[in-house]
Symmetry: C2
């Protein structure tokens, strides 16, 4: 068994698809065994997701997700825009999608949504909230929903929540709660 | 506030990129306000991830992830091949990537990895394991690692694990453990 796995060597990269948020590349790479393969990789913009917590509720959003064309119950999320830190983006997305501003906002995690991309997702916990008004983009249809913290575990178990960043952030929140209680 | 959000109407779809595992489409859609926009959607193959549990350990894999070109500590995962149920795929991927076979294998969750795709990920818990030999594909470099269950929470908290399906499945496993203990 290898203690350190050998890296792949990039020989040639070719852009095969490009849109405002996605680039797809076919990379010709050499494997440690000398074999050449083509590996399709994706370039996607980093994003943030925020768990906004009041005394008894999580501030969630109900958003229409195309192409599934169904409603999805999620926490506020969005891209890290040019010139922003992930924390800047978390503050902005929370305000835009829910109207709420937070006195305290701290990073509680980070993950890679896709193995075929270097994209990173940053998770934040937002506390001491003040209510304001949403600032939605033209394509955004969003209802703000206050979800009791005591209902979150059941909503996760019954698969009412299927948005990956929301699941990771809310499960992390529940595990943090249990740490402080134990 | 809308109680039910209005759906988007597809006017025209155009394939802009195609590879063995990914198709990208530009969809011309009409928003509820009558405005036309182009929305880029991705078609990806469903996959499974499996939490293989022994008395004290989780059977994990150390795998080289290109394009980050770094080692990633994950649970066994893989695509749902044509003709397979997600459970079939879980049994197969567990055997191929770790060598282990499971007497009991049950679904513990499901999620949507990407908002721009209808792709689904299915999570399984595998118990009563029997050790065998790996059956790796040519491109796969995988080391099997037995990780003590008591170390999982710290490994998640310290961001040693960044693979989204692995995080969701292991957090779920920890929350299930706490339910049975409480």
């Amino acid at each position: 068994m290898l203690s350190i796995l050998e890296k792949w060597k990039l020989i040639e990269t070719k852009l095969i698809c490009s849109s405002s948020f996605l680039k797809v590349f076919d990379d010709k790479v050499m494997l440690p065994n000398g074999k050449h393969i083509t590996f399709t990789k994706m370039e996607l913009i980093d994003f943030v997701s925020v768990v906004p917590v009041t005394d008894n509720n999580i501030v969630m959003i109900e958003i229409l997700r195309y192409p599934r064309n169904c409603l999805s119950l999620e926490i506020p999320s969005g891209h890290v825009e040019k010139g922003e830190t992930p924390k800047d983006s978390a503050v902005r997305e929370l305000k835009e999608e829910t109207g709420y501003s937070a006195e305290k906002i701290e990073c509680i995690g980070r993950f890679n949504p896709l193995s075929r991309s270097t994209q990173q997702a940053h998770l934040f916990l937002a506390k001491n909230l003040t209510k304001g008004t949403q600032q939605l983009e033209a394509t955004e249809q969003i209802n703000v929903k206050l979800v009791p913290i005591e209902d979150i575990k059941e909503m996760l178990n019954s698969l009412k929540i299927t948005h990956a960043p929301t699941i990771i952030a809310l499960q992390k929140f529940l595990l943090m709660q249990q740490e402080t209680q134990s």
